[in-house]
């Protein structure tokens, strides 16, 4: 009801214009007509394509000053300022083909135009992004240690993100938005080139594979409103887009070699190009290092190949394959005292982790007609991860007994097919309709048992021991979704959407629950139990968004979308007989609402301000229950409560020289500020110790990232400062740390990063210092892997990358 009030309210303020038109012809520099060139007015929904004879027309355009943008495959993009005050305006556009010597000019233009962050257009490919909070990170413009995927830097301009720094060299990505838990990015739907890359999109949405930043063209982040088109996660979508091969040349190669502190070595080689109707891109990356802490060496290899065949002007096929394997030693956690003494010391030298990921995808793009596109993507994953080690209390020495091995094997496949159709509901008002379907089938084999008492990376179960648990989980998911962007006036669009999900989750397995002596830990009795659980449900999700553009440089957007987090495998798995799972346990559910304002002031200031509210209901947790007949107590896993995260996300970037009217091609200076305030608290709980008003764990109220970039000719120096406020690590809001170090506060911390970039012809140098002032801090207290205990973030480290482009 209230949402409709808002829309009505917004509608009343909008004037309706009579038909006016901007038209013209697109040609190449020899005067030949260019068909299928895209013509659009920046920051508006006005866009079209030129016809067979190169003609285009944009109708019902209100009077204003616009930036007309025209581009076509193989030609340089052209931008032109238009002062339009009604009537019929004719503009003829000539495009020049992309030439190699133009490249540096293009780079310089980007330097002065681009802030390293951008936004998605209202409609791209077969997706509608209108009125959704989103950010696009343009990797070429990011000042970061790309060889280590330093997420503090890579995601610096995405507002309100929490980052966990618990892994050397960015092997795993741990980010969360709006106060959602950053653990392995599991609150995002994580994709590469549009397909899922997590272990199991619904049942175990952990990201073990992070696409190497060096290989990326951009990263798209869409907040909670992505739930209707991508998947129900509260955090939204994060989509890594890998580079494509050079569009003109048959072979273009990039070689990057990085050395860094603590034995860090990183080699990256990519090849790409276009030959006839084939475009290809591939890379290999090898990474190794000893880690900042003792016992934290790692070795990782990643490879990728992508081939696109343009079968005709209307049809193209893209095949991708990704391979990744890494082995890393886990230094374990620390107690508060150990951390104070020396965070680099490790008290566990027998803990290991390895991961293998195989991903494949085949994507079909089909232009059904000028107004209708179809994409269909098939994808699959074959993967495993193994965690081996001693997970006992970190305040006690390693007993040197048999270690625990936890292994997960993942096999999943799916298809997502979308059709997008443009039509005019009201004459001259292009509306866009999207319909999609998704099928997903995930299978996980999860085992836990005893491994040897040695210290090597021996990922096998001991012969003659029975497993502690052996489970097969499966998820079958069918989703149908639709959104429609209605252009109500040239300033206002409304996008309602719906998604229907069918999920069938099952857990079949056995577990061994030993009864242990509470003093000695001696096994008194082995109890083998088995379980067979299934849960089928239908989940409808609704959402609506509206976008209002008072002028070409400003947009206000509103969005409301429902979300849910499907019951995870760990939610339904039983580990001991004193443990019961509510037979009616529900998916965690809720919604995200955004109200934002973004745009540019002239060419020197970009901003995005958002108010948001994230309601998180049916949180799954465990409470103690009693049985008054048998006089027994037991742990009961059920939906225990509700939390609400609300706050403000802000991003502002200023090009200082342009702001004071001193635009220069050789000198540049810009500053950015990314500040978010999040108030996240429990509003109800079945657990009496989690009181109403208690702060949600792992949500810093204040999160600040700010930085300055200076450019002189081909030298760029960037400084970034990060401040993250104090956080609680659990829901009762423990003020003090206990000796096991798994509960207690996480103090506020400040980190600085300095990076330097220089390019000369085909050579490039990246150098920098991460954690410039060698601050000792930590971002998490792990309850289990990779701890338990405090997981320190890395101290100061240096890196130097040399890049050579060949071909």
């Amino acid at each position: 009801m209230r949402i409709f009030n808002l829309i009505l309210f917004l509608l009343i303020g909008v004037e309706v214009f009579a038909g006016n038109k901007i038209s013209g012809k697109v040609t190449d520099n020899e005067g030949n007509a260019l068909p299928m060139a895209k013509v659009l007015l920046e920051q508006t929904t006005f866009e079209t394509y030129s016809d067979e004879s190169g003609f285009f027309s944009l109708e019902n355009v209100p009077s204003n000053t616009y930036t007309l943008v025209v581009f076509s495959h193989g030609f340089q993009k052209k931008e032109q300022i238009l002062v339009y005050d009604g009537g019929n305006l004719m503009v003829d556009i000539q495009l020049s083909p992309i030439e190699l010597q133009l490249k540096e000019v293009v780079i310089q233009e980007q330097k002065s135009n681009d802030f390293g962050i951008s936004y998605l257009n209202s409609v791209e490919g077969t997706a509608i992004y209108a009125s959704k909070k989103n950010e696009v990170i343009l990797i070429d413009d990011v000042a970061a240690n790309k060889s280590t995927n330093n997420s503090r830097q890579v995601f610096a301009k995405v507002s309100g993100l929490s980052v966990w720094e618990s892994d050397p060299a960015g092997l795993q990505l741990g980010i969360g938005s709006r106060g959602l838990n950053p653990n392995r990015t599991s609150n995002f739907n994580t994709r590469q080139n549009g397909y899922d890359i997590s272990a199991d999109a619904l049942g175990y949405p952990e990201s073990y594979y992070t696409p190497p930043t060096e290989s990326l063209e951009r990263i798209e982040v869409i907040r909670g409103a992505a739930s209707l088109q991508y998947g129900p996660q509260f955090g939204g979508l994060i989509n890594f887009i890998v580079k494509k091969g050079h569009k003109e040349k048959p072979l273009d190669a990039t070689v990057r070699q990085t050395v860094g502190s603590y034995g860090f070595l990183n080699s990256f080689v990519s090849l790409g190009g276009t030959k006839d109707t084939w475009n290809y891109y591939g890379f290999v990356q090898h990474k190794q290092g000893n880690g900042w802490r003792e016992n934290s060496d790692f070795n990782a290899n990643t490879g990728y190949i992508s081939v696109t065949k343009s079968c005709s002007k209307k049809l193209s096929l893209t095949f991708d394959y990704t391979y990744m394997y890494y082995l890393s030693q886990q230094a374990g956690g620390l107690t508060d005292k150990q951390f104070e003494e020396n965070p680099q010391v490790s008290y566990r030298n027998r803990n290991w982790f390895n991961v293998k990921w195989n991903l494949g995808s085949l994507k079909l793009n089909y232009v059904l007609s000028e107004k209708t596109y179809v994409t269909s993507q098939m994808f699959g994953l074959l993967a495993y991860r193994n965690a081996l080690g001693e997970l006992g209390r970190i305040d006690r020495p390693d007993p040197m007994d048999n270690r625990d091995l936890i292994s997960g094997n993942f096999k999943n496949f799916g298809n997502e097919t979308r059709i997008l159709h443009r039509y005019n509901l009201i004459k001259g008002m292009p509306s866009v309709f999207l319909l999609g379907a998704r099928y997903y089938n995930g299978n996980t084999l999860n085992q836990q048992g005893e491994a040897n008492d040695g210290s090597g990376s021996d990922f096998y179960y001991l012969e003659g021991t029975s497993l502690y648990s052996d489970y097969r989980f499966s998820n079958k998911n069918i989703a149908l979704f639709s959104e429609n962007m209605f252009t109500v006036s040239e300033r206002l669009s409304i996008t309602p959407g719906v998604r229907m999900e069918y999920i069938n989750t099952s857990a079949v397995g056995e577990y061994r629950a030993d009864v242990l002596h509470p003093n000695t830990g001696q096994v008194l009795l082995e109890i083998d139990s088995s379980e067979n659980k299934q849960s089928k449900r239908n989940v409808p999700l609704l959402g609506i968004g509206s976008s209002y553009k008072p002028n070409s440089a400003m947009e206000s957007y509103f969005n409301f979308s429902q979300n849910y987090r499907a019951i995870n495998f760990s939610d339904i798995k039983i580990v001991n007989p004193n443990y019961q799972v509510d037979s009616k346990i529900k998916d965690e559910s809720g919604w995200n609402a955004d109200l934002g304002l973004r745009g540019k002031v002239k060419n020197y200031l970009a901003y995005d301000l958002t108010l948001f509210c994230l309601m998180y209901d049916n949180r799954i947790g465990t409470v103690m229950k009693k049985d008054t007949i048998t006089y027994q107590t037991y742990m009961y896993r059920t939906n225990v409560g509700q939390a609400r995260n609300a706050g403000v996300e802000s991003f502002v970037e200023l090009d200082v020289l342009k702001a004071i009217g001193k635009d220069s091609a050789t000198v540049g200076a810009s500053i950015f500020s990314n500040v978010s305030y999040i108030n996240a608290e429990y509003i109800s709980s079945m657990d009496a110790s989690i009181k109403e008003g208690n702060r949600v764990e792992y949500v810093p109220e204040i999160n600040v990232k700010t930085g300055v970039s200076l450019v002189y000719k081909k030298v760029k120096v960037s400084y970034q400062f990060t401040y993250v406020g104090e956080q609680f690590s659990e829901a009762t809001n423990a003020e003090k740390a206990l000796s096991t170090a798994i509960q207690g506060k996480i103090p506020a911390y400040k980190v600085s990063d300095l990076s330097f970039h220089y390019s000369y012809k085909r050579y490039g140098i990246d150098a920098g210092v991460n954690n410039l002032f060698n601050q000792m801090y930590y971002t998490r207290r792990a309850t289990s892997y990779p701890g338990p205990g405090i997981i320190p973030a890395d101290g100061r480290n240096y890196y130097l990358t040399l890049e050579i482009k060949l071909g």
């Binding site: 007993p399 008194l524 009795l525 108010l611 107590t633």
Partner: protein, 381 residues
């Protein structure tokens, strides 16, 4: 004009966010006063805080410190008796050491409950009383003469249970013979006894106001979060009670092994005072609950805090069940390991009565006091 529209839209949005309205307790006198609350929802709870400080003070100064003090001084006496015995191995000196050990074992029952703060940091309970002791390791260590008794890895063959074995495992004559003929055995005995005193003294020093003054932290840390004194106390009150139920009685009786009894797994199996120790343990927990000080004065304890929280029915249920448990346990004769074989029914009755109290103190009491049980147990009974 457009700007105004947008600003208005923003403001409207703020009010539009449903359920984001702040309701809560608006009375500044209340404990849960919430300065951000716009509207009172009748949830105000009034101050038990000052009373909680009284409870913590009575428990900390009236119970915990005196119990540690007593334990510490008994261990000095025990250690002296062991030294005397090792210098002059005879029946009289053995008897003195044996008696001192029994006294120390009894005194420990009343300290075992406080496994938080300094005791938890030092894993005191494991160092002092990991029973059943690992007799194979003890004999191995004696013959090899190489061991580090201060290490956590030694908990299986040190502490009171190791002394109970060393001083009671055979007839006195045989014991005297064994000690007389093995210097290694004497050294090990002295080592265990000395280390035991060191372990307890270290924790006692961490507690004392003249030492590291944890008592100050304990009596001033209010609240109910997992690091609060109340939460730590209630958790260990439960944990220790469950140790009584399971380790001291249930496991030897066969309650966790499908009825197969393990009488030799009783506490103080060799000295044979298991039932008496169980009674001491229950009495210690009862006194803690009621706030009865070591000098016998009935101060404020968890019971009184429950009354303050206005839960009379629960407190009378707990009282009644404590009485039944104490009565049932009183009728179990020592040595418990023999009673388990000769008269399991009487032990079973005591076990069942002890068990009935768990559901009150582990669920209802915790809910009422707004603390959560943070230890997990593999209790499969």
């Amino acid at each position: 004009m457009n700007m105004r529209l947008i600003v208005f839209g923003f403001l409207l949005g703020v009010f539009l966010f449903p359920s984001c309205k702040r309701k809560g307790c608006t009375d500044p006198e209340a404990v849960n006063y919430w300065e951000k609350a716009k509207k009172d929802d009748g949830s105000c709870v009034y101050d038990q805080r000052n009373f909680l400080f009284e409870v913590l003070d009575d428990i900390g100064n009236g119970i915990i410190l005196p119990r540690y003090r007593k334990m510490d001084s008994l261990l000095v006496e025990l250690n002296n008796a062991v030294i005397t015995f090792s210098n002059d191995i005879n029946e009289t000196n053995l008897a003195v050491a044996q008696n001192k050990l029994k006294e120390a074992e009894k005194a420990w029952q009343k300290c075992s409950t406080f496994e938080f703060g300094p005791a938890e940091e030092n894993s005191l309970r494991s160092h002092v009383n990991t029973f059943p002791t690992d007799t194979v390791s003890i004999e191995q260590k004696i013959s090899s003469g190489s061991y580090d008794l201060s290490s956590f890895l030694a908990v299986g063959y040190k502490g009171l249970p190791a002394l109970d074995y060393l001083l009671f495992e055979s007839s006195n004559n045989k014991l005297i013979q064994k000690f007389s003929s093995s210097a290694n055995r004497v050294t090990f005995l002295k080592g265990v006894s000395e280390q035991l005193h060191n372990d307890v003294e270290e924790v006692y020093t961490l507690w004392k106001s003249t030492g590291n003054n944890y008592i100050e932290t304990f009596v001033t840390t209010d609240g109910t979060d997992v690091s609060s004194s109340l939460s730590l106390l209630v958790n260990q009150f439960n944990f220790d009670y469950e140790l009584l139920k399971n380790a001291k009685i249930g496991i030897p009786l066969g309650k966790q092994t499908l009825g197969v009894p393990y009488p030799e797994q009783t506490e103080a199996y060799y000295s044979g005072i298991s039932a008496e120790l169980a009674r001491e343990s229950l009495k210690g927990i009862f006194n803690l609950y009621h706030g009865i000080s070591e000098s016998g004065v009935d101060n404020n304890g968890l019971h009184d805090y429950l009354i303050e929280l206005d839960n009379e029915p629960l407190s009378s249920d707990i009282n009644a069940q404590f009485e039944s448990a104490i009565a049932a346990l009183n009728s179990v004769p020592d040595p418990l390991s023999e009673t388990i074989v000769s008269n399991p029914t009487i032990v079973d009755v005591a076990y069942e009565e002890i068990k009935k109290l768990v559901i009150y103190i582990k669920t209802d009491l915790c809910t009422e006091m707004e603390v959560s049980i943070t230890y997990s147990d593999g209790d499969g009974d």
